[in-house]
C-alpha cells in the first residue's frame, strides 16, 4: 500500500448510479481536498476507470445496474485482487453483516464498509476514505454497535467491562490502538492492557496486525 504523500491529494473514482448523489459526492470530496479522477454509473465503467486511472481509492455503491443487487461488491473484490494499490470504500444500505464478511473475507486491508447515510457527516466520511487509502479497514460504527449490542447468553462477552466493550467496538471498526487511545482519551499503554484483557477473556489468539484483529473480533461478534 503506497502511502500517499501529504502534498499530493488522494485520487478517487466514484461509482454511483444516481446522478444527483454522484455529483454531490464529487463536490463534497472535491471540497474536502480529494481529487475526483473520474465517476462511473455502473460496475463495468468503474473497472475500466480503475484500470486506466489507477486511483488511490474507489468509492462504490453496492447496488448498481444492471441487476441492482451486489455488482458494486463484486467489483470491489475484483479491484482489490487485481489492483492492490487501489483501496475500496463500499457504500451500503445493509446493516446486515453477510455482505460485509463477503467483502472482508479475502483481505480486510484497504477495505471500507460504510453505510450510505454516513455521507451526511462529511468530516467522518472523508476520514474513512483517507484511512482506507492508508491501508486500514473501516467498518461502519452502526454495523459494529448492532453486533456488540446483540443479546447473548453465556457468552464471554458478558464478562467484559464497559470500557473493554468500547475498546472492542473500536477494534471491530478497524481502529488502531493509537486511534482508540485518541478517541477514548486513554494512554496507548492502557489501550494495550484493555486489548490484552479482551483477547484473553474472549479466548482469542492475540493478533498483532490490526487487520487480523478486525477479522477475529468481527467473527467473534457475529457468532
Amino acid at each position: 500500500m503506497p502511502v500517499t504523500a501529504a502534498s499530493a491529494p488522494l485520487r478517487v473514482v466514484i461509482a454511483e448510479d444516481t446522478v444527483l448523489l454522484r455529483e454531490g459526492l464529487r463536490r463534497v470530496l472535491g471540497d474536502a481536498g480529494l481529487e475526483v479522477a473520474g465517476t462511473a454509473a455502473d460496475a463495468e465503467r468503474l473497472l475500466q476507470l480503475t484500470r486506466t486511472l489507477q486511483p488511490d481509492v474507489v468509492l462504490v455503491d453496492i447496488r448498481m445496474p444492471p441487476t441492482q443487487t451486489t455488482e458494486g461488491l463484486q467489483a470491489a473484490r475484483q479491484i482489490r485482487q487485481q489492483w492492490p494499490g487501489t483501496a475500496v470504500v463500499v457504500l451500503s444500505q445493509h446493516v446486515e453483516t453477510e455482505l460485509l464478511f463477503e467483502l472482508l473475507a479475502d483481505d480486510p486491508r484497504g477495505v471500507g464498509y460504510v453505510l450510505k447515510e454516513r455521507v451526511a457527516d462529511i468530516a467522518q466520511f472523508t476520514d474513512a476514505i483517507r484511512r482506507v487509502a492508508a491501508g486500514e479497514s473501516v467498518i461502519d460504527p452502526e454495523v459494529v454497535s448492532r453486533l456488540v449490542a446483540r443479546p447473548r447468553r453465556g457468552s464471554p462477552l458478558e464478562t467484559l467491562t464497559e470500557r473493554e466493550r468500547d475498546v472492542l467496538a473500536l477494534m471491530a471498526e478497524g481502529r488502531s490502538n493509537q486511534a482508540i487511545a485518541g478517541q477514548l482519551w486513554m494512554s496507548p499503554k492502557t489501550v494495550e492492557t484493555h486489548v490484552g484483557a479482551i483477547f484473553s477473556k474472549l479466548r482469542l489468539t492475540p493478533a498483532a496486525e490490526d487487520h487480523r484483529r478486525v477479522l477475529a473480533v468481527l467473527a467473534f461478534l457475529r457468532h
Binding site: T69, T70, E96, E98, P151
Partner: protein, 581 residues
Amino acid sequence: MSRRWQAALTAAAVAAVTGLVVVTYVPGPPEPLIGTISQAAVGLAFLLAGIAAWRRWPSSRLGLLFTITGYLWLLPSVARLPYALPFTIGNLMAPVYGAALAHLGLAWPTGRLRSRFEAGVVIADYAWNIGQSFVSMFFWNPRTNCSPGCPANLLMVDGSKSAENVLGVISAPVGLALTGIVLVLIVRHWQAARGWSRRAMVPLLWIAPAICALSVTQTVAENISLPFFNSRVGNLVLFGYAPLILLAGPALFVASTLLARTARGAVGTAIVDLESGAPPGRLRDALARALGDSTLQLAFRLPDGSGYLDTAGQAVDPARPGPGRAVTPVAESGDAVLIHDDGLEHEPQLVRLTAAAASMALEHSRLQAEVQAQLEQVSASRARIVEAGDDARRRLERDLHDGAQQRLVTLSLALGMARNRATGADPELESLLESATKEAREAIVELRELARGIHPAVLTETGLAGAIQALVERSPVATTITAVPAGRFPAPVEATAYFVVSEALTNVAKHAAARNAQVAIRKLATRVVVEVSDDGAGGAAPDAGSGLRGLADRVASVGGSLRIDSPPGCGTRLEAEIPCP
C-alpha cells in the same frame, strides 16, 4: 317367457307327474313305492329346471332341453296302463331320455352344440337309442319277462328269448361306446374352456360321470345276467333308488344359478373393497378375481380415438375380440370396454352388473382425478399468488431503495455540505442544518427498516444463510443458528423458510418470554426442514393468533407443512417442512 307360458308349462309338468302317480295305482302288478317316488321326483325336477332355465336364459335351448328330458323321462310310465298301445309306446320310448341327457351335457353351458361333429354325435345317439329300441321291440316278448296279464307288445315279430339275447349282446357295446364318447367330449370341453366358461363347466365335470356310471350300470345289468341284479333287492337298488342320481341333472342348473349369484356378490364386494383412487389395473384384477376369469381385459379408447389399450398396455380391438371372447361396453360412450370369455354372455345379469360396477368405479376414479386436478390447480394458483406477492414486495423494496432512499441520502449529503458552509458563519443556521441532517438520517434508517420489512434484499442477494444470520442478529432474544445450508434454493423455498424463521423469532420475542432460541435449517433429499425452538413459556396454539395461522398457510402454499409443539411451560418448537428437490 311370459307369465302365462310359465304357468302353462308348470301346469303341464304337474299334470304329467300326477298322471304318472295315478298310472302307478291302476290295477296291475304291484310297484315298489321308491320306484314311483324317484320316477316322479326326477321328472318333476327336470321339468321345473326347464321352466326356470327357460326363464333365466330365454334365448338358450337349455330350458327346452331340460323340459324335453323331463318329458322323455316321464313318458315311459304310460306303459303301466293296461292297454297294448300305451304299453308298446312306453316301452319303445324308455331309453330315449338318455340321448336327451347326452344332448344336454354336450350343449352345456350355452345350449349350443360346439361343432358339426358333436351335433352328429347327438343325432347318432338319438337315432341309436330309438333305433335299437325299435329293433329290440320286434323280439321282446313281455310274457316271458313280466307277470302274466301284461298287455301285448304290438311290435313283436319274434317272441323267442334267444333273439332278444343276441340283440342285447350286440347293442350293449355300442351304447357303452356312445356314453364314453359323450363323457370324453365333456371333459375336453372343460379342458378347452377359459374364464367364466370353465367355471360353468366345473359342476358338470362332477355330474356327468355320475350319470354315465348309472347308465353303464343299467346297460350292463339289462344285458348280463348277474345274480345281484336279478334279485329283488338288486332290482330295487338299480331301478328304484339309483335313478335318483339323475336329480344331478336339475342340480346342474341350481349349481350354475348359485355360481352366478355368488359371482354377482363377489363383483359387488370387489368394488366395495377397491380402495378409492385405485388405478384401472386394480379394478380389472378385482373383477377378474370375482368372475374367476383371468383372461378378463379392461380396455380404454385412446384419447385420439385411434384404438384401444388394455390395462396391461396391450393394444386390443373390440371389433374383433378373438375366438371365444366377447365385448361388453362399460359405459354408453364406449370409451371403456370389458373383453371377457363369451361364456359370460349367458349370464346377462352378471355381465350388466360387472359393467355397471366397473363403470361406477371408473367414474369414481374419474371424479376423484378431477377433484385432484382441481386441487392441484388451486394449489398451483395459490403458490402463484404467493409468488406474485413476493415479487411485488421485491419490486417495492427495490423502488424504495433506488428512489426515496437514494434521494434522502442525496438530501443529507446536501445538508452536510450546507452545514460545512455555515460552520462558524451563522450558529443558528448551523444548528438548524444539524437537526435537519439528523432528521434525514433518521428517515433513512426508518426507510431502510421499512424496506427490509417489505422484502429482505439480503435474502435475494446472498441467500438463506445470510438472511437468517441477519434475522438472528436483530433478534432481541439470544438466538443461535445450529445449522443452515450454504447453497441457494428456488426463490419460493428461500422466501418461505425466511418467513418461517422471521415469524417464529418475532413470536419468540413477543410471547414466549424465552431466554434462548435456536434456529436450524437442514436440506434433506426432497425437502428443506426449518426448525425454530425456544425455552420460553410454550402454550402457543396454531389457531390462537393469526400469525401462526398465516404461517401455516404460507408454508402450505408451497406444498409444505407446519408443526407446532408447544406444551405449556416447556418452550415452543416449530418445524416447517418445505418441499425442495
